[in-house]
Subunit: 389 residues, 2 copies
Amino acid sequence: MRDVAVLGVGMTKFGELWDRSFREIGIEAGLQALVDAKLSSGDLGALYLGNMASGSLIDQEHIGPLILDYAGLGDRHLPAVRVEGGGASGSLALHQGYLAVASGLYDFVVVGGAEKLTDVPDATGNQITSSAADHEWEVVFGGTLPALWALIARRHMHQYGTTREQLARVAVHAHAMGAKNPNAHYRNPVSLEQVLAAGPVAEPLGVFDCAPLSDGAAAVVLGPMERAHRYTDQPIRIAASQVACDAMAVQHRRDVTTLDSTVVAARRAFEQARRAPADVNVAEINDAYTISALVALEDLGFCEKGRAGPEFESGRFGPNGELPVNSSGGLKAQGRPFGAVGVAQVVELVRQLRGEAKDRQVKHASLALAHDVGGTGATSVVTLLERGS
Amino acid sequence: MRDVAVLGVGMTKFGELWDRSFREIGIEAGLQALVDAKLSSGDLGALYLGNMASGSLIDQEHIGPLILDYAGLGDRHLPAVRVEGGGASGSLALHQGYLAVASGLYDFVVVGGAEKLTDVPDATGNQITSSAADHEWEVVFGGTLPALWALIARRHMHQYGTTREQLARVAVHAHAMGAKNPNAHYRNPVSLEQVLAAGPVAEPLGVFDCAPLSDGAAAVVLGPMERAHRYTDQPIRIAASQVACDAMAVQHRRDVTTLDSTVVAARRAFEQARRAPADVNVAEINDAYTISALVALEDLGFCEKGRAGPEFESGRFGPNGELPVNSSGGLKAQGRPFGAVGVAQVVELVRQLRGEAKDRQVKHASLALAHDVGGTGATSVVTLLERGS
């Protein structure tokens, strides 16, 4: 298999984009990525599109060709394929695009992620969010996504002594970073007191512990590493792309507080790249709920099991820490348009590795990790990116 | 890229399976395919699942890990990826599975297709069917799938003199074949008079011109051709797998009566396999509507443009004709569980190539073609299968 590079990145603002349609935001992100890659649409071989729930949200399935068509590429008859895996849809699409280029079948592909979540009422949006959990064994009994993550949080607090304040620190950090990101859904810093005082969603998780419903799109252009230098001085190599799944329902897992899918995907990714967690300089991790981020830091191997709370509190994962995470603001502040999330993580990391992240720039970033989760962890995708040489 | 073989096939009965859940039928098909391939689940590297609309139909997205989990494979943490492209979802999943094995990333993968369409009222099911057309430019103006295919039929009749009776012959043929297929949704033969006398859906298309809403699942096991002989005496090689897309809305196409996506996917497939339409001995083609089958025969290169009506009437595509099509009964009689359709086509063709199709067996079948369509042709997938040597 060939080495694959990210040649271009693009994304729309995330937020409540009521004046823009699904196809508009999808195309904007794709076009930005193409321009950034200095490619023309004539160079493209295929489109992979990550999206979780367009059927329920906008009465539209079959959105691969929809985006291709409205990007003006319909008459080139490229293959366009939608990929879905709950909130991990975007990074699953990236995995398929990676595979398509690595195999040699296509040279250049666009991987997009897009979701339009705020065209339905909030209650409907929240219901659709939970369709990534097990409908028959969780959701019908009230096990919505926030309820299930609350259960994971309770157990983590009980088992490891994680505190309510440690959870809240994740949200404070996300909003602080979102304030520096012009594309973020939320750009307002929040204080620890505000997070702790906010109304409950599913205790111990309050309003600020849960990422919002957002609209948004992101896209990257992938191509063979061996040809990357024709297009860019700073090709970013995909050092690993790995997917792992687990039981759908939390109750069927080996351990409530561990996402085995993340553990396994990370292990496979570090093996593929011949690197270790300690080599990573910057990461975007799933913080759909504040507890998600703590669990992720442990399961990715960035700290011991049960230690993420105090280590987060110590600033180790902050902008000046040893391993800055979610410089974008994460799902919590940058926003959470399901299918776009995993692609937007890669957009942020590519900008970090290129040194283009402005106010958010992390120092000495050469190896980056993206971590995307579907549901409560039935799917995890781990991607490693490194500066090309 | 490596040569890829189909090592095992399985499918459930298609129909109104009100006593069985989505996960049950998905697992039944997958298990049949595994047993047929003489593989154990421990040999598998990944699962690809074709499904169009589980979110709208059963309030469940994220169905890749759902099926993996309930098949007892959750604790092996395999990657499970759902692929969607309207009615072509199943064959798109096959394309991704093919790519995964061809690339060398995985050795053995299961490709499944499943849809549970009859758990919602018929009106809802029909509405969801049309979410594969362009919602903003077609569906909201009344351009549902049957209406759009009726428009294609009207134009085909006007331009080429295709008759109402020629359309009806497609349904008569499908039911005659379905009567011989124990898995078919409809096993009752129908007469030309019955088809012509049936109530209208969207004129000129009547009730018998439209494939039903069905539940069902199908699965195949793929593996590298070089290792196929360890598992089977009759490996079936995937000689080509090609996807092409086109404008979503019929009104934006170059020609209303031609599916350019089919023309291009077929051309690419014949190039990949270094074969020609005349080499094909047996085919499963999209007959979601009777007109779909006639247009497909032309666009695949099996007859001249505009000639499919009289040539179908002549028996050329019947069980004793030069090129028997839809020996399974097609979408019209075998059934139309969207995401399962493209996979079930391959199941039927593998049985034909192995000589296991019993009453439906086509003589001297060595090269087979499967043709799957999403919406009114925004996606087409063409797969060529041949007996291994």
